[in-house]
């Protein structure tokens, strides 16, 4: 017993001692099958990677290396992307974060849970390939693998739409249907996806309730304006009442020039009002709209970083704040 005490003392609070089985042996001996589980596997692994960069490079060449990083949980990780207020960038965030994670090597299934106003397929350029949706799967007109649309650029990214615009989903199924879909994806022949991203519709009515039913985590997308923040606060309250405690925040459409002139709330102000960890900061980019309209590569650097923080279950520790540029002094003309 002293051995186990010393062992637990050495490993600290980040390691859990799991007893698998205990059986009686001969001569008053007991056989215990046990193992240790690291609750901070990711942080320990990251520490090791920082300390031994050369070894890290070698390990990174392993094909499934990246999947090891999120191994401290049960796949698939079902994440609902919601906001409350419409038009803040939920669908854009879902598409970009999903593609970023696919680019990192994860298997992603994105579900567009908006029954009446479907947009995710449009953003991904897959609107002409939507033949079957979840409604057809429920009705028995197709299998779930036939309803999944694989992206041509990233074969590990798939899209599932809930319904076509004019079809109606049976009333009583709603949230249960999504639970069945997640379970079916988990047990499919190709293997369980790593992430299931659910694009939640705006508002807090039946569509929202359906979308959050199977989710374990949430990403809240908001913009730095007071109306969006109030709706976001309400949505966070509903998510917490429903038992979803792991909620991260992505602030979209940030204008550093307006923040500098105090015409817009800063990201830190937004965080102060909502009290959520910051997972991403997406600046307003005028060129981005041309990407959306032409359905080109959507993943921007900010979205990639947000996706990586989702993988690492990490948050931002600092933000960049724009300042007034320094006025050139008298001697700057002379190179001073």
């Amino acid at each position: 017993m002293k051995f186990f005490e010393q062992l637990l003392h050495c490993t600290g609070n980040n390691v859990k001692f799991i007893i698998e089985s205990v059986c009686e042996g001969d001569n008053f001996a007991a056989v215990v099958m046990w193992h240790l589980e690291s609750q901070m596997l990711l942080k320990n692994v990251s520490f090791l990677f920082d300390e031994f960069p050369e070894a890290t490079e070698g390990v990174a060449m392993v094909p499934d290396f990246i999947c090891i990083l999120r191994s401290a949980g049960e796949t698939p990780f079902v994440v609902v992307i919601t906001s409350g207020k419409g038009g803040v960038g939920k669908t854009t965030t879902t598409a970009n974060v999903g593609l970023s994670l696919a680019r990192l090597g994860f298997t992603i299934v994105a579900i567009d849970a908006d029954v009446s106003l479907r947009n995710l397929d449009l953003l991904l350029g897959l609107e002409n390939r939507v033949n079957y949706t979840a409604v057809e799967v429920l009705n028995g007109d197709s299998r779930i693998d036939q309803a999944l649309i694989r992206d041509k650029r990233w074969s590990n990214f798939e899209l599932l739409c809930i319904s076509k615009p004019r079809s109606k989903i049976p009333l009583g199924f709603g949230g249960k249907a999504l639970i069945w879909l997640v379970e079916a994806l988990k047990s499919r022949l190709e293997g369980s996806p790593d992430f299931i991203l659910i694009d939640c519709p705006a508002g807090i009515d039946a569509g929202f309730i359906t979308a959050i039913t199977p989710a374990k985590e949430a990403v809240l997308v908001t913009t730095p304006d007071i109306t969006s923040l109030r709706d976001a606060d309400r949505v966070i309250g509903l998510l917490e009442c429903d038992g979803i405690k792991d909620i991260k925040m992505i602030v979209n459409r940030v204008r550093t020039d307006l923040i500098r002139g105090e015409d817009m709330m800063s990201v830190l102000d937004v965080q102060e009002m909502l009290g959520l960890v910051l997972s991403g900061l997406i600046p307003e980019d005028s060129e981005y709209k041309s990407w959306v309209s032409s359905c080109f590569e959507l993943a921007g650097l900010a979205f990639e970083q947000a996706g990586w923080r989702l993988v690492e279950q990490d948050s931002m520790k600092a933000v960049m704040v724009e300042e007034e540029p320094k006025k050139p002094g008298f001697f700057s003309f002379f190179g001073g």
Partner: protein
């Protein structure tokens, strides 16, 4: 030929067309384009007046007091020259030359028209004053606009002490990017012509728990598990708190469907083979086809001619 009055009159010095013609402009028909075009916008009347005055002065000076015969001759020559100039004013080139030579120095002009200059200066000063007042009023109203940053700070919903960051973080560029210029104290960087500073995130776990408690008090919610159309009754064994009422035109409104929950669940979990409904339709079609075939065979059998053999 059509000429635009606006384009002519906005410029102070305009090249003159060498061909006189009739033009139609906003200000009416002018028979002599050149006479019209040679007028300068701002100082047109002034120059014309000054030109006339100059000409008058010259003619008065020429006639007032001749000194000697040489001077007389010179003055007469000048008068003749001026007269020729006046006569030649109808010649476009001559008019241009006359207008240029008759332009008085600016200082001379300024000194002669102090009243006008004072008025112009007053107008400019008043314009600047109006601009300054408008800017001040706009800035004041910005603080009074509800929902603005200043309004939120005034209401105490945002911290005012965050406006300046007390302890700036040091920026470390691990890539040594030449496009990123790190400031002297390593706390600011310059990228793409803009200066940035790292502001630390100051949200603590205690603050997070305060927000969670606030929301748990404010929002009491139980997720509905059943959606019922407005007007329908609640089933007997269902908790009313878990019911969500849906309007009749909501996308979740049902159609007539013979699929129950178990069947739908089985359809979702199907991994191989033909989907259930397709298979069921196919089987139904096949059964119908078989039934039709059997009916056809029966009919054919009934209608076959009976051969009667005669033993006689």
């Amino acid at each position: 030929m059509r000429a635009s009055m606006a384009s002519i009159s906005t410029q102070q010095f305009q090249s003159v067309s060498l061909r006189p013609s009739t033009c139609i402009s906003k200000h009416g028909i002018c028979l002599n384009v050149l006479e019209f075009r040679s007028e300068l916008r701002l100082s047109s009347r002034y120059l014309k007046w000054s030109r006339r005055k100059t000409e008058r002065n010259f003619s008065v000076g020429a006639n007032s007091s001749p000194v000697n015969s040489d001077d007389d001759k010179r003055v007469e020559d000048e008068v003749v020259k001026m007269e020729r100039n006046i006569v030649d004013s109808e010649n476009p080139f001559g008019r241009l030359r006359g207008s240029i030579t008759s332009l008085p120095p600016v200082v001379f002009v300024m000194k002669r028209h102090i009243g006008t200059n004072f008025a112009v200066g007053m107008c400019i000063a008043i314009a600047f004053l109006i601009i300054a007042v408008r800017e001040y009023v706009a800035r004041k109203s910005r603080y009074n606009r509800p929902g603005s940053v200043a309004d939120l700070v005034k209401r105490g919903q945002l911290r005012s002490d965050r406006r300046g960051i007390s302890s700036p973080l040091k920026y470390d560029d691990p890539f040594n990017n030449p496009l990123v210029k790190v400031g002297k104290s390593n706390s600011t960087i310059e990228m793409c012509g803009k200066v940035y500073r790292l502001a630390p995130v100051t949200l603590t776990e205690e603050q997070q728990s305060i927000h969670q408690k606030r929301r748990s008090r404010a929002y009491q919610w139980k997720r509905p598990t059943m959606f019922i159309k407005e007007g329908d009754s609640i089933p007997q064994d269902v908790d009313p708190d878990t019911v969500r009422w849906i309007p009749a035109n909501h996308p979740f409104a049902t159609t007539v469907s013979d699929i129950d929950e178990d069947l739908a669940q089985n359809n979702v979990y199907q991994k191989h083979g033909v989907p259930f409904r397709i298979k069921a339709e196919h089987e139904a079609l096949q059964r119908k086809l078989e039934a039709l075939q059997s009916v056809l065979l029966e009919i054919q059998r009934l209608h076959t001619p009976v051969t009667i053999s005669s033993s006689i």
